[in-house]
Symmetry: C2
Subunit: 148 residues, 2 copies
DNA sequence: ATTATTGCAAACTATTTGCAAGTGA
DNA sequence: TCACTTGCAAATAGTTTGCAATAAT
């Protein structure tokens, strides 16, 4: 398969910052390009170990942090405090619908900040966070048998 | 000053669950009643040490967790992953405008889920998170001198 | 008197750092 | 070649747990 746009973007971001493209970093880029949802550092580590049994956890961390500082990965803390990464959608502003079971995410364009008025307190607004959590169709069907 | 409603609610919640009211727990209730914004475990610990120089960190943790399990404290992870607590607003659904500097929070009633349609993917929606981050008026003025 | 709560110490998890050896540009 | 990157090991931060002493009911 041809290298995807997103994967190229990630690699380009690194070279543009004078960073070197190691096999591991190339693999990282591929993992995030091929994943729909969020990945924890441990998830990434485990995927990395398949092609590189010798990778160390700290290298994975370092690279995740680096990519998130470059802005090509998006880093969020889930509701339970768990750190997760996902490749950034650089192209437009949107929000996410996240499956609490498999963490697959879908984007949607509606933003509650559009036309937002009447906020109290005269704040200077910096940013916002809007996420909807639920069960995706697959997970819902899967879990149906064990539900009460 | 007369004991506030909120403080009573917290204490009542504990007695109703067969838990004992220690001086520390009474103080915890007071701290959260008197605080507008979010408090980290460390913040709470430091406030607790004023009246009880001998408190231990783990007792603070245990009690925070207990109160959050009872539902009288609301626990969230901030954008940077830091755990914070705040007394629950039991009375109605709303969202928060949070000062990123002092973490004071204001509530507002608008909820983006009202009338939300057109979500992709046929999820079963479980919950949502909507927070607006900014600088409150005070912090904005304070910081004005050192701004670029 | 009984049993929950506390403080201490230690365990545990997640994340970060220093450094010598390895590797990409 | 040169300096960035890696793996190892150890450090750090945040949170949790076991247990004997203490205190609430």
């Amino acid at each position: 398969m041809v290298q995807k746009q997103q994967e190229q973007d990630m690699i380009r971001a690194m070279t543009h910052h004078g960073l070197r493209i190691t096999d591991q970093r190339r693999t990282l880029a591929k993992i995030f390009t091929e994943t729909e949802g969020y990945l924890s550092p441990k998830d990434v580590y485990e995927q990395m170990r398949i092609p590189y049994p010798g990778v160390s956890f700290d290298t994975v961390y370092r690279n995740l942090r680096m990519l998130s500082e470059l802005g090509v990965l998006e880093q969020i803390y889930f509701q339970d405090g768990g750190l997760k990464f996902k490749s950034t959608c650089l192209h437009h502003h949107h929000h996410h619908l996240i499956c609490v079971n498999c963490e697959k995410t879908l984007t949607f364009d509606y933003c509650p900040m559009d036309g937002m008025l009447n906020l109290p307190g005269n704040f200077k607004i910096i940013n916002h966070r809007f996420e909807i959590y639920g069960l995706c169709e697959e997970c819902r069907l899967e879990g149906a048998s064990s539900e009460s």
